[in-house]
């Protein structure tokens, strides 16, 4: 399943909250992306079970964000296939993939500065719901995320952590089957990180998650299987403890991956 020097095979993809090996929700085969001469992602075979919570780690430039962009349709793959919930979504445009049930929170918060928090959630929900139900979903999310007091404020005026939550909230409003989160706690204070962990655990009950993170403390709190990316390939896939003690991983990560911030 993985590439490079890692031991392959006999471990089970298991999320902390779901049961043993579940049906496949997402699978990539030989997924690659080249930019001119730069090979950002090479031959990635990845599998995610339904209901799973997977963490993706790796040094900067390892290809994680590019991988996410291919999954969400923002970049067309150079080679390989992506299978989601039974359909081949390789190279499909972003709006079609979103309709099939993939939501994404980008690395740099991608929001609408001139629109209010409420409007963000409303528009996200409105895609599949009528105006009244979308409004109800928006109100509910404002409560859940503790953003009710900021409901009518323009997101451009919010702090970085709050903007991240807005984008996460949008993916929740989408009612996606799979949510991709690229560094959801970047720039957050410790208490905000803890709130995010609780939130994501609650979301994971009904939605599968793939989370890219650098914050090791966050990852240890959220548990689950970890996939390590390195130079565009999957290096190893295992539990957090095993990954941290793996000598190859330590070598690759030398200087990065300090616990906490």
């Amino acid at each position: 399943m993985s590439d490079g020097s890692a031991p392959s095979g006999a471990f089970q993809n298991r999320s902390a909250s779901a049961g043993p090996v579940s049906e496949t929700l997402l699978e990539t085969q030989g997924l690659s992306k080249n930019f001119g001469g730069v090979k950002a992602v090479t031959g990635v075979d990845f599998r995610l079970g339904r209901g799973e919570l997977r963490c993706l780690i790796g040094p900067n430039g390892a290809g994680k964000s590019t991988f996410f962009k291919m999954l969400s349709g923002q970049l067309p793959p150079t080679a390989g296939t992506i299978l989601f919930d039974g359909s081949d979504i390789t190279g499909e445009p972003p709006h079609k993939i979103a309709r099939l049930g993939i939501g994404i929170k980008n690395q740099v918060p991608s929001v609408w500065d001139g629109l209010s928090v409420y409007e963000h959630f409303f528009i996200a929900a409105h895609r599949r719901l009528g105006a009244r139900r979308a409004a109800a979903v928006a109100d509910e999310l404002l409560m859940k995320l503790g953003l009710a007091t900021l409901a009518r404020r323009d997101v451009g005026a919010l702090a970085h952590g709050e903007r991240q939550w807005v984008e996460i909230g949008m993916t929740m409003a989408q009612d996606a089957k799979l949510i991709l989160l690229d560094e959801p706690t970047a720039g957050m204070a410790t208490d905000e990180v803890e709130r995010t962990v609780a939130l994501l655990r609650a979301v994971n009950i009904s939605t599968s998650l793939i989370i890219v993170e650098h914050d090791m403390q966050f990852i240890s709190m959220i548990a689950g299987i970890v996939t390590v990316f390195h130079q565009g390939r999957i290096l190893i896939e295992d539990t957090m403890e095993n990954v941290l003690t793996n000598p190859v991983v330590r070598e690759v990560y030398l200087g990065a991956g300090r616990p906490g911030r």
Binding site: P93, H95, S110, V111, F122, I123, R127, Q174
Partner: protein
């Protein structure tokens, strides 16, 4: 940049506006009524661009093209003995179809916003040349001779009396502004605002943004076409000058100077700039072009948000709440 939302005040503003439109002709001379009517038509044109540019972020340098096509459609149908009312509708449709075609090529062809701007400008200039070359009487549509650079004259008006025509133009402007504001506050309008701010984000939620952009762009073109038809009716003439660079620039300048995104700003910009242009017109058209160009440059550099938003921001900074 958030559109200006006036909430509770707004229906009061509309009521005041309606009353003003109804009453003003009685306080003015016939000449003044006729003069202000064309200003109202230009306000309508400015508002059409604001719907596309201010709301959805789609800058078209060729709003004048849709305006001109609307005017020509009206003139051609009238010359072919159609009733002016039908001709007016035809002008609206002409503007809408042209914008729809251009929009389809741009949005479904995934062309950049920059290319949309340049292409609309180029199309306008091409229309100028094509229609300017129709001097020979063999260029006609039915009974309507196109007339080259001289254009078409003796176009029958929609209404013969100035005051009813004033009310028609004013009424249509009122209707467009009110519906436009309601549209902006409705989910469709909010989605367009989101597309303006970050289109990719909207796509990632599952929306096919191409359709949304096409819809607003075509609507904007239709309103511009309506304004064009009204203009042809007002002046009784139409010629390729409507496709000139100066005319295209004026529409953009109105919206830039007045302020994008509120519809009111665009109307105010049109009024102010046209009043100024008229004054300068007594001196000469080259001076007018010079001043228009200077206006454009200075506003982009110093007040890119335009007058109305800057004014309102000034109000809120001295304590008057905006919302």
């Amino acid at each position: 940049m958030a559109p200006v939302r006036l909430s509770v005040l707004e229906p009061l503003l509309w009521a005041a506006g309606a009353v003003a439109l109804a009453v003003v002709p009685f306080a003015l001379s016939t000449f003044q009524v006729v003069q202000i009517t064309v200003f109202l038509i230009f306000c309508l044109l400015a508002v059409s661009l604001d719907l596309s540019w201010g709301l959805a972020g789609l800058l078209s340098f060729g709003q004048a093209a849709f305006f001109g096509l609307g005017g020509y459609a009206y003139a051609i149908l009238c010359a072919n003995d159609e009733t002016p009312g039908v001709a007016l509708a035809a002008g609206t449709v002409a503007g809408g179809v042209a914008a729809g075609l251009l929009g389809y090529i741009a949005f479904y062809g995934r062309l950049s916003t920059m290319f949309l701007a340049v292409t609309t400008l180029v199309v306008t200039l091409i229309l100028l040349q094509v229609l300017g070359s129709t001097a020979d009487p063999s260029y006609h549509v039915g009974a309507a001779v196109l007339g080259g650079y001289n254009g078409m004259t003796n176009i029958p008006p929609l209404l013969h009396e100035p005051t009813p025509f004033f009310w028609t133009a004013g009424g249509l402007l009122f209707l467009v502004i009110v519906s436009g504001r309601l549209l902006m506050a409705a989910p469709f309008g909010r989605i367009l605002a989101a597309i303006r701010e970050n289109e990719r984000r909207v796509e990632l939620l599952g929306y096919d943004v191409r359709g949304h952009k096409l819809a607003i762009f075509a609507l904007s073109g239709a309103i511009a076409g309506l304004a064009g038809a009204l203009f042809a009716s007002w002046g009784g003439f139409i010629n390729p000058e409507v496709f000139s660079l100066a005319q295209s620039a004026q529409v953009v300048i109105w919206v830039l100077v007045g302020g994008r995104g509120s519809l009111y700003g665009a109307a105010i910009g049109a009024l102010l700039v046209q009043a100024m242009t008229q004054y300068l017109g007594y001196i000469g058209t080259a001076y007018t072009t010079l001043v228009l160009g200077a206006l454009l440059v200075s506003f982009v550099l110093m007040m890119p948000n335009g007058l109305l938003p800057t004014f309102l921001r000034g109000l809120s900074s001295i304590g008057i709440r905006q919302r």
